[in-house]
Amino acid sequence: MSVGSLTAPEVGEEALDPDAGAWDAIPSEGVPLVPVPIEAQLNAYVRAAWTGRDYGRSGPVELALARHGDRLLARLSWDGSAVPPGEFTDAAGLLFPREPGTAPPVTMGTHAEPVTLWQWRDRLASQQGLPSARHLVSTGPGVFRPVPAGGEVSARSSRAGSRWSVVLAGPVEALATGSVGVAVWAGANAERAGIGAVCATWVEVAP
């Protein structure tokens, strides 16, 4: 998927706030999402538990990118769960290929082609000692591991009704290949790990 209008202009620190006016002037694109294929789930339990169940219906996600010094800022906005959260929370993530030519993000990477994942989860920040966002490497649906010394990833979020707006910020080097992907997990539907919605192809960012 090529979105020629998506660029990453320089912005001030205020853009870390998803409701900052700075985002009004930055082009955004609606990124459609699809369910992570059930066939791609790597373990038999997840396949057994989720085959025939509806999931991955979130999206599209309105995506805008910006830079602040050596930080890449990404604003994601989408309709989240309208019901109060239960065991699981709404979540969203950015996927970045680590090498040019990496397979599409629909499987959230593979063992042979790991992808970088910046993940925000609702309520995580209110929990003991936990950051609001995590810097992970993903090698398949739900196969996430923390990235040692991968650079800090932070997030700020706001909510208007059921609509989330989240700004994820992390090292600008993540965008080195010029491609980015988006994933969303609907907490009210118990979506987590590899059960969620993801863009089927990489979104190309204009240099």
């Binding site: 997840v46 995580l124 003991q128």
Partner: protein, 386 residues
């Protein structure tokens, strides 16, 4: 609660298997550690539960966690109604299960200490759990204690200590998408690398025994680790060593000379709980004998035990009948003046006979500063938050 300073449990340096995608087939550990609980001796004192609690689950987010717990049978247990929550294996395929939520475990309550002790109404206000509206105060780890089953004069109950079964085919390991869970080659203990756990909780769904808890404060699942640092130091798990009833055997079922081997394989009086769940538990139970039923006129029905055999079969499978027959036969032999190696084993004349090669007294371990008597994946000096 906070401040015990327990290090985060990371992947140990010992060998392991059971990474993401492992079906658990053929995953038997050569030196699998097993335990046998003799239910005829369990008095429901919860010393095992407290020993575990004090040692392992005193950190933030662990208030409601009882890796070792004792429930009255028949009963709904903990989490409430766990036997009907699914999970396990059937015909080689994992069975979808329910993830028990916080209210189903219950417990971990906050009490109205402020109101009672400092609110000026201490003479009229009673100490009670504070209802936060999340259902936590309507159940707990031992909520239905001593309710049991049957009708007077044939009411009955017994106690069932439960912990992670450290299964031979651990479906929790198979269900973990992040590969955080694994089963060690050396002793078959099922562990979780808490630094790799992403909090997906598929393990909690898949475990048919529902002995995995979720730490909402740290966003990781947690379960009994069979006191593996103690095992590595030759010390029996805390639940076993602290048991005043001397009913918990520890050792390898593969050691022909061990009491566990004899109880499980030779005499076949120690059985796994719910073998139909298909995971191959390594925790075994000697089922409870019971007195005879009473007729309505209170005369004794010598032929019928108070605890219905069909109920015991629902817990321990059809082999329970032969196990009970064996114990009755051995009891009769002793009552007739004979000898019984089985009964001598179950009596446990010498405490250390319970523990196989795990007889080291923890008080003898070197606990001096800088000395780590037990091995964690991370130095004890490392902060406990991940």
């Amino acid at each position: 609660m906070r401040g015990t300073g327990r290090p985060v449990i990371e992947r140990t340096r010992m060998g392991e298997y059971g990474a993401n995608g492992d079906t658990g087939e053929g995953a038997g550990a050569p030196g699998q550690v097993a335990m046998v609980f003799d239910l005829n001796k369990c008095m429901g004192c919860q010393t095992c539960s407290v020993a575990c609690k004090v040692l392992w689950t005193r950190e933030e987010g662990e208030d409601h966690q009882w890796w070792m717990s004792v429930n009255t049978q028949p009963g709904l247990g903990t989490p409430k109604g766990w036997e009907e929550m699914g999970g396990g294996w059937l015909d080689g395929q994992p069975v979808p299960g329910h993830q028990p939520g916080r209210a189903e475990f219950g417990g971990g309550w906050d009490f109205n200490y402020q109101e009672v002790f400092y609110g000026g109404t201490g003479s009229s206000t009673h100490l009670r759990p504070i209802d936060h509206g999340d259902g936590n105060t309507r159940w707990g780890m031992n909520w239905d204690e001593d309710q049991g089953g049957g009708e007077y004069p044939n009411s009955y109950y017994f106690y069932l200590p439960r912990l992670c079964n450290h299964c031979t085919h651990p479906v929790c390991v198979s269900a973990c998408p992040s590969g955080a869970m694994y089963k060690r080659h050396e002793d078959g203990v099922v562990l979780r690398d808490e630094s790799a756990c992403q909090g997906a909780r598929f393990c909690m769904e898949a475990c048919p025994y529902k002995k995995i808890y979720f730490n909402y404060a740290r966003n990781v699942a947690q379960h009994c680790i069979m006191c593996f640092p103690r095992l590595e130091a030759g010390v029996a798990p805390a639940c076993a060593r602290q048991c005043p009833g001397r009913l918990v055997f520890v050792g390898s079922a593969d050691d022909d000379e061990s009491p566990i081997h004899k109880l499980v394989h030779q005499w076949e009086v120690a059985l796994p709980l719910h073998p139909e769940f298909g995971t191959g538990p390594n925790i075994f139970y000697v089922p409870p004998l019971s007195p005879s039923r009473l007729h309505e006129d209170l005369s004794i029905d010598e032929e019928t035990p108070r605890i219905p055999p069909e109920y015991l079969e629902s817990l321990f499978g059809p082999k329970v009948h032969a196990a009970l027959d064996t114990m009755r036969r051995e009891l009769a032999r002793v009552r007739a003046g004979g000898q019984s190696e089985l009964l001598d084993t179950l009596i446990v004349y010498h405490w250390n006979d319970l523990f196989g090669r795990y007889t080291t007294d923890p008080a003898t371990l070197d606990r001096s500063p800088g000395r780590v008597p037990v091995r964690f994946g991370r130095s004890p000096s490392t902060p406990t938050t991940s």
